[in-house]
Symmetry: C2
Subunit: 322 residues, 2 copies
């Protein structure tokens, strides 16, 4: 468990207005949040929902948040809002997907409450979208990040890169449509289990070689069929076209390039907001600019989720008033 305690904790405890939980398949993060989405304290554990046995979500959460409730003054307890796969069929409480287009007020009015030792725990719904051929797409967790991105009235393109990257169109504070790419999962699969992963030294786990990364991004434009382009990792190794330490960066460029070229073309986007950690955000920024994007706005993924949880809570409160 990682704890970041603010020096002025005693004072700030009283400022806390919300406990926000971002709970995915492989991570659990808890935030003590003040008005406006300001993060007072952040804690995390590796108890992703895949690790939870017998539906015992309470025991996994207990060590992270119990003391945040110990000093709560009498009266209404600190509200708790949860987003991510914890609201899926495999999670604590299944909240049905809401279909796009979806406004923040739609999600705020659809929070699902479950009793917990800390009062009502409120779950945010995921979103679904459907195309004209009846192909569905889904997200859980990213909708909260997106609603933390200060959506303006204008059409905006927002990407939340990761295991399953989501590219979203928003307009007038509404998520209109989105599109998932399996990019992060595919990288991990190929890295760990494939014949091209075998070529990569163990220490080559991070993407440090920007030239090879960009070489992959360019190749993904020339050669959009991934089943073919992936083989160039192997043939490039056979013909000594790049250093062994660079295969991983080139592979990452092929995959992120495939995603970025396709999304920029489909969404006819030039300005893109990237909601990510610093390292992944840097890669996406480089790929988007290399693929013809003209401007990238970088947004920290954790700050976005906290602001999104706050915005949802505030909207919910306003709806509750007569």
């Amino acid at each position: 468990m990682f704890t970041m305690t603010c020096p002025t904790m005693q004072t700030e405890r009283d400022l806390a207005q919300l406990v926000g939980i971002d709970w995915g398949t492989t991570h659990l993060r808890a935030y003590r949040i003040a008005a406006g989405g300001q993060v007072l304290e952040r804690r995390e554990s590796s108890a992703g929902i895949l690790t939870i046995r017998n539906q015992d979500f309470v025991s996994a959460l207990q060590p992270l948040i119990a003391d945040w409730y110990a000093h709560t003054r009498p009266g209404p307890t600190l509200p708790m809002l949860l987003c991510g796969m914890v609201g899926s069929r495999q999670g604590w409480c299944e909240v049905p997907y809401r279909s796009c287009p979806s406004r923040i007020s739609d999600l705020a009015s659809a929070l699902t409450a479950v009793d917990s030792p800390w009062g009502k725990a409120l779950f945010v719904a995921g979103l679904s979208t459907e195309d004209k051929h009846r192909r569905y797409d889904v997200m859980r967790g990213e909708e909260t990040q997106i609603f933390g991105c200060e959506l303006s009235g204008q059409r905006a393109i927002i990407v939340t890169p990761g295991t399953h990257s989501k590219w979203c169109i928003s307009k007038d504070s509404t998520i209109e449509h989105f599109r998932t790419y399996l990019t992060g999962e595919m990288f991990a699969l190929l890295r760990s289990h494939s014949s091209i992963g075998w070529l990569m030294p163990d220490e080559d786990r991070t993407i440090q070689n920007e030239a090879s990364f960009l070489d992959g991004v360019r190749e993904s434009r020339r050669e959009p069929n991934l089943l073919h382009s992936l083989f160039s990792v192997r043939s490039g190794a056979l013909f000594d076209q790049r250093a062994a330490e660079a295969h991983s960066a080139y592979l990452s460029g092929l995959l992120i390039g495939s995603e970025v070229h396709d999304a920029l073309r489909r969404y006819r986007a030039s300005m893109v907001s990237v909601v990510a950690t610093a390292s992944l955000g840097r890669l996406y920024e480089a790929a988007i600019l290399a693929a013809g994007g003209t401007a990238v706005r970088r947004i920290d993924a954790e700050l976005a989720v906290c602001r999104g949880l706050w915005n949802l809570w505030e909207t919910h409160l306003k709806q509750a008033k007569p």
Copy 2:
């Protein structure tokens, strides 16, 4: 070890003119071959080259072929010709790639000899091809299958589906160009290790649902970006759009469809020769016809490799004559 003994073995032993070995990373197959490439006897083991320790290829081959040499009449021994990854850097003897375009006579004159307990063992070279952007592609083993396909003078498109499918252009008995797709490996990866593989029941290992397979082939045309289309396996499951037993067939359709659409478009092909086992050949035939191909010629992969080994040997003999 699987042995298929012909009833008239005693007579036919004298007909044998060549021992052909197709030795890949995961399989080892040995054939006793008569004039014209006719297979007199076939044996196989699971001693693919990845299983060989200390370069001891002889011990792995011994149980399959030793008795074929026991009765060899005095004089020249039965020649032995080997193709596949056994001729790679990880194999018994590294034979450099020859670059395309390549005629059968080029390969027949480049056989590499290594001493063995059964006389000289001759290795067939692999092929490489290079595009104008200096991207290489390689094959080892498939070139022998292709030279077993009775290439006419006309331009022909031949596919050898599998872990790494190869699409080849041949003309005037020359392999002009080819293109690899990681299709079979990708299917196995996604089936065994990915979040979409988890959706598939264990018994769903073979592709039996042709309607779902063709649904995947059609979807791969509508949605050429694989990183996105693969997610429709998952969203289709969430929205109960297909039976659990059909996910695997749909995934196979997405992948084979991606390969086939791309190759037919690039090679502007309508008639395609498919060199495969019966079950894989049937899938490729269905996918090619659904993707706009007008005719498919099916060729058994093992017969092709034996005819190819024979054709290479016969060409080699002719070259040796003054």
